[in-house]
Amino acid sequence: MSRPQVGLVDLLDRVLDRGLLINADIIISLAGVPLIGINLRAALAGMDTMVKYGLMQEWDNGIREAARSGHNMPAPATGALPASVMPPRLEEGVAAWQ
């Protein structure tokens, strides 16, 4: 395995979509939605495919929803796969190996 390296995409995903969320009135917001990375992500979309942009937004909304309802805690590492986790779908790959 090659030496671990941190790429831009590793940082963007995390800095924009992760990190502690403060749910309080004292945080600047737009129409009640914390303005965290939304515009920035639109700006960065040009750096990647629109497909990814779409995926990230859907994913981001899911994470933020979970955070608001207090279910943001990661799964404990027990080796068991949480029921909510689905294996990957291989639609892209079908084209790749056909």
């Binding site: 671990p4 940082l11 502690l20 600047i28 986790v85 291989l90 056909q98």
Partner: protein, 273 residues
Amino acid sequence: MELSAEGLRHPLAGAVSARQQAGRYIYCVAGANEVLSLGSIGIEGREVHAVVHNDLCALVHDCVAQPYQSDDAQVATAWVLAHHQVVEAAWHRWGAVLPLTFNTIIEAGDGRSAEENLSVWLNTEYQVLRGKLDALTGKAEYGVQVSWAPSLIAGKIAETSPDMREMEEGIRSRPRGIAYMYRQRLESLLRKEMEARAAEEFKELYSRLSRCVDSIHVEKTRAVEEGRQMLLNLSCLVSLERYPDLAAELDRVGSREGFFVRLAGPLPPYSFC
């Protein structure tokens, strides 16, 4: 008239400096009570300082009470990198940090300044923040991605399945019309096999890797380079003692024919706070 760089950037320097008091951009919370400045390492070179409450501090810069927005990807990327560099500097200095999401800006309100509001928040959330910091001490986040070469894997499956070999034979020995039907059936079968194999691999990899880490998030897989397909994308929280186990497990995976491993880290625990 003397034109300083600062003066050029802010033609209304006086007005801006008054409004600057309105917000505090927060990078992270750390378990330290040092009243200090980390220097001009913040977004756009802003001075980053610590707002202390008990044995906690928040690293902030003074700003206008408006979120960062830009249509310029280069500008936006520079902001994100600066945010990360501050978090990382704090992480290296104090060992544990709770990074805030990008663009978290606290404002004045309820008759208090932004900095007072921040202190109130640190006070109210003290137990929660302290608990999280303690739990994260000595741990780092790693991104783990496993991909495979689908054409290679498909080839192996086709070789080892008696059904598929029979079909291959059929394709070769039959007239074109019939051969076409066989080809269709073979591809459909292979597709199903690949999906089943990917699901199996995913479960097995998740299970093995999760035993080497402290905490785990399954991320969406994403498109990777041509000829490869991502099977598994994880964010893992890993303590120093367990890292060698993870590295050994990943070496094992990466040594399998047609499998590729990417490890990104160590990173401050963005996904685990």
